[in-house]
Every structure is written in C-alpha cells, then in structure tokens.
Amino acid sequence: MTKKVEINQAQRVINVHHVTRLEGHGNILLRMEGGRVQQIEWQVPEAPRFFEAMVRGQSWEDIQTIVSRICGICSVTHSLAAIKAIEDAMQIKVSEQTDRLRLLTHYAEHLESHVLHVGYLVAPDLLGVKSVVPLASSSPDLVKTVIRLHRLANKWMELLAGRMTHPVTFRPGGFLRLPSADDLKKLHEQLRDCIPDLDRLAQAVAGLKDKLPDFTRETEYVALKQKDDYTFYHGAIGSSDIPETLPVQQFESAVNEYVSPQSTAKWAKWHRASYAVGSLARYNLNGKYLRPRAGKLAAGLGLGGKNCNPFYNSLAQLVECFQVVEHALEIIDELLEKGIKTEKIMLKPRAGEGVGAIEAPRGILFHRYEFDRNGKCLKANLCIPTNQNHANIQKDFEAFVPQIIKRPAGEIQHLLEMLVRAYDPCISCSTH
C-alpha cells in the first residue's frame, strides 16, 4: 500500500516500489551478484487513462479542457499544445498579442514547475532530509524564498490562465480574458522584484552543487530550435546529433515510440538507443541564446558549452527560471507599449489534421489531432516529454550502477532515486 523498499543484503536486491517526491508512479529494480549487475530496470506501472481514445468524438471546443487533465503540473503546456494543433488543423492564425499572452502564461508555468522541482523535490536531497517539511525549521530562509517564488508563479498563472491549474482562458483563435494594463504593470513589478529571490535560490543551490553526483553520460539531446532564440514555444525539432531540424509535423519520425514490457508509458528513441529532453537538452541546444542573467548563472554554475551530467538538469532548470522572468519582463514591456486590444474570436470548425509542439518544463511535447468538418475529433496522437526520457533514464541506470556498485545498498538506492528525480519526470502524464 505504502511505499515499499526492499533491500536484500544477502542477494543484493534493491526494489523501490514507487519512488517518492516525483509526479506519478515509478519503480526501481536492481539485482546484483558478486559485484556485478544482474538486472537493472526503471519501471513505470502507472494506470493508463487512454487520452488518445478519450478525445475521439469530442468537439474541437472541448479538446483543451480534456487534455489539460493529462498533467496537473504542466496543464498550461498541454492546453497550448492542443490549441496550437487545432489551429494548425483548421488553418487559424492568431494575432501577435494572443501569441505573446500565451507565451507569457507558458513562462509562468515554467517558473512554477521549476521552483516546485528544485525547491520542494530536489532541495531535500541536497540537504539530507526526506521532504521539505523539516526544512521549514532547519532552513527557514530557503523555504520562505521558495514559497515566495512559487506563490508568485501561481499568481502570475492565475492572472493570465484564470486558474493556477487547468487554464480556462485559452481558445483556438484567441485569448479569452485579457489582462488590463494595470494588471501587467503590477506583474512587471512583481517579476522585477522577484529577481533577488531567484538570486537567493541560485546561491543556495550553487552552494550545494557538490552534493550532485559527478556522473556524465553523453546522449542525444532533443528540443525545439529556432534561429537565435532560447525557444520554448515556436520552432522545429532539433537534435544534438544532427545539424538540420525536422518540421514538427513530422514528429513521429523523431520520437519512434515503442512499447516496453516494463512500462505502461511508451518509450522513444531517435538516432541512438535513447535521447533526453528537458531543461538540460534545451540548454545544450540553445544555451548561447540565454538572456544575460540566465547566461551568467549558467557560466557561474559551470554548465559549460554542453553538459552531459543528467543531475545537472536541476541546475539548468534554475537557469531557466531567470530566462523566463527576463524574457517575460521584455514581453510585458512590448505589450504595454502596443496597448492591449480587445479581439473578437469568431470561428467555424473545418476538417483537417494538425500538430502542436511546445517545450513543457520537462521537455518537448507533441499533440496531433484530426477533425471532421464539424470539428469532431477523429484521431489523436500525443507524445509527452517524460515518454521521451524513460529510455534515457534506463540507459543512465545501466551506466551509473556499475560506477556505484561497491557502495552500501541504501546509498545506491538513494542515488538512483536522485537520478530519476533529476529528470523531473511527470509519470502519470507520460502514461496518459
């Protein structure tokens, strides 16, 4: 019922039945004998919810309401991927204002998700405790900083998305409740004022950096790419293994999903046996386009031109917290300068098929839908970031365990849990 951890010293078996402090249900199984690995598995037993079936027969107007429920932490991202796919299918163009407001909302989710992960889920490992609860008394300043940043990100999301989770202001063709100039000015102030808090969080984590294991494994990194931009929202599919990009409409030939017997979520591979998506992948592909503060932090943290330590994904997330805040401030300035204009959304559905691709906090996300002429959904295919990371977690395990096999079982278990956590997996999302 509860978390089950079996460590059998005689046979050297580690069986973590539901790794904690991550979204969804994942297990680790490790069997060792005579100092060698017999079996190492990253398992995903999450209950499937069959979203690709669920949306069949549903109206184009209700799709984003349904699929935002794929994920409680990245619901804005899922809604936006769906809306972009619907607009692609029905050849709907949106105004620059709508595009910027969506990106601004998307950034709020990145900040919220990254602060949640670094502050609430990873920090306890770095400080040697089991959750954030004891930190409230042992590191009150850090916890208060995390809470302030997390609350700000949520308020930011609530202002633009209508709610903190499962947004209600997105519709194909437009943006439903427009923020006022005053709202945006206030948000601008709050974001500007949060930078000292971001600095405090960055300093705290930088000071604990040596608690992150020194483990590197070069893999393929995949993320959206667009000219001269650290993109989260537009672009084509980029990979560290190829110089060119692939149009998002062809995402199936990049992800090559397959079913693994150890997982209810599908796995993915492209040019190698596995690839990685997420903050570190984005950093490795687009790091040179970071805004000044973000770029400075990346250099200060020693991320280098390309970084292949999966544990450093949490550091890349921290860098992105600065990136989204810095870019958001610019977007708000632009919006205020141009003035927020009321737009009429008048749309009729049409038949078609389309793809939406977007960078979720955990990596690149793809949605494909097909509609009939009444806007009824005929078919869907959704490929989630954590789907794309599962095989890479397995490959990391295979490379990492031999390096740590001589350590006590409890320590091996803890390091493997930390490795899974570094990916910030959204497991229920990946099984969807």
Partner: protein, 253 residues
C-alpha cells in the same frame, strides 16, 4: 482526534489536486500544526501504514488499484475523495465507452494493445468501491475549500459544501450569462463552490464539480429554450465530467 495522522494516496489522475495542496504555501505550514502528514508520495519520502484520515486522489481503473483502495479504507477512520477523478470519476469517465468496446488499448498502444501490463478496467469513483465519508469537488479542487473542509472536520463540524448551482455564484460576480454569447454553459445544473471561476474568465462552465443536489433541470431547460438550445447541445459537454446522471434528471423533469 488529537493531531490526526493524514495520508494522501493517488490513483489514475493528473495529481493536480495534490499540487493545489502544495499551492497553499504558508497556509500548508499552518495546516501542518494541526495534522501530521505520514504519507504523501509526491512530496515526502516517508511512508506509514498508520493513519487516521486517508485522502484519495484519482479514479480506480485496475484490479490491483481496487485492492489497494480497499486496504486503505480498512486502515483509515475517515476517507476523503479529493477532486473530480475520485469523487465523480472526472474526465476519466470518457475512457469507459472505449474500454467497453475493447478499443481503448488499440487506440493508444496500436499493435502492442494486447500486452498484459497495458490492460485496464473502466474508471470508477472511490465511492463505487468503498465507503467515502467526504468529497472535495472540482478539477482541480479549490485549495481554500480543501483547507476549510479539513479544518471543519478537525473541529468536529460538518463542512460546508454548496448544494446550489454555479449560476448563483456567477450572478453574484455580475458576469454576463454565457448563453448571451450563444454558448452552452453547464452553470444551471452544476454544483457551486468554485466562485464561478470559468465563466468569470470568459469560458462556459464545463461541469467539473458534478451535479448540484437536485438540479433544477426544468429551469435549466427553460433557459435553454430561451436561447434556442436543447438538451442535446448540453449532452456532449456534460459527458466531460458530470456524466450520464443528466439522463435520469432529464426524464424526471
């Protein structure tokens, strides 16, 4: 109960309701002075088989999950179904017709559809399997309501959960009715308590809190008549969260 032990367990869902608890921020630290969390996999590494209050998130879809829920019920003094998935099956109900037709795994997993680990039963709410003492509605839950319900419970009072429809709160907010925009809104039949968040943001109510108690279907039909809509217009949207109870209410009216 003096400082009761609370455990949170998740089943098939997006875990967004747990996130709303985290989103309480400082208030969560306050709550921790009156309850002791003993198991909460998403936020803590500790686990325990000894708890007073079990909070269930998510729908139950597979035999192993049904067994797990029954075992939790056997240990808990109070069991709370948190959020639409646990309380009313939520959007998970949309998978059920595909499970019945034997198509769900095919549409998702293609040629691998028959592999044993991918099989699933229909999605069910917690009360379809065990006795549920309280429900916290919404997709996601409203965290202030969560906090208020938990505090009432600790004070030995019955928590206040609105029985009237969303329209009441929507009118209080002074919103223009979504029907005026030629949209289909479920406000007239859906349980309030959300502060009419969606209509206030420019979107129709899609029913995430389930039906109001004894929804006035007659009045709702009158509204629809007035705007040239029929029960058929409502049906596919009602399917999203509230489900087929509409049929029986429909017949009653």
């Amino acid at each position: 109960m003096s400082k009761p032990k609370v455990a949170i367990f998740d089943f098939a869902c997006c875990e967004g309701c747990q996130l709303q608890i985290v989103n309480l921020e400082e208030e969560l630290l306050d709550l921790l002075t009156v309850v002791t969390p003993v198991e909460w996999r998403e936020a803590m590494s500790e686990s325990s088989a000894d708890y007073d209050i079990a909070i269930i998130e998510g729908s139950i879809t597979r035999p192993q999950d049904e067994e797990r829920l029954k075992a939790i019920r056997a240990k808990a003094k109070v069991l709370i179904a948190m959020g639409a998935c646990a309380a009313i099956t939520g959007v998970n109900r949309l998978m059920n017709k595909f499970i019945e037709a034997g198509k769900a795994t095919t549409y998702v997993y293609g040629p691998a559809a028959n592999q044993p680990h991918l099989q699933s039963g229909k999605a069910r709410a917690a009360h379809e399997i065990v006795k549920v003492d309280y429900k916290i509605h919404g997709c996601p839950i409203d965290n202030r309501e969560f906090s208020a319900i938990l505090r009432s419970l600790l004070a030995g009072k019955a928590p206040f959960i609105p029985t009237y429809p969303v329209c009441v709160e929507c009118k209080q907010k002074g919103n223009i009715c979504r029907y005026e925009y030629d949209e289909v809104c479920l406000g007239p039949v859906i349980r309030a308590g959300c502060g009419a968040r969606c209509p206030s943001s420019g979107l129709w109510c899609f029913g995430c809190r389930g039906y109001a108690e004894e929804p006035n279907v007659k009045a709702a039909l009158d509204v629809m008549d007035l705007y040239g809509k029929t029960m058929n217009d409502l049906r596919s949207r009602l399917d999203l969260f509230a489900g087929p109870e509409a049929e029986s209410h429909d017949q009653k009216s």
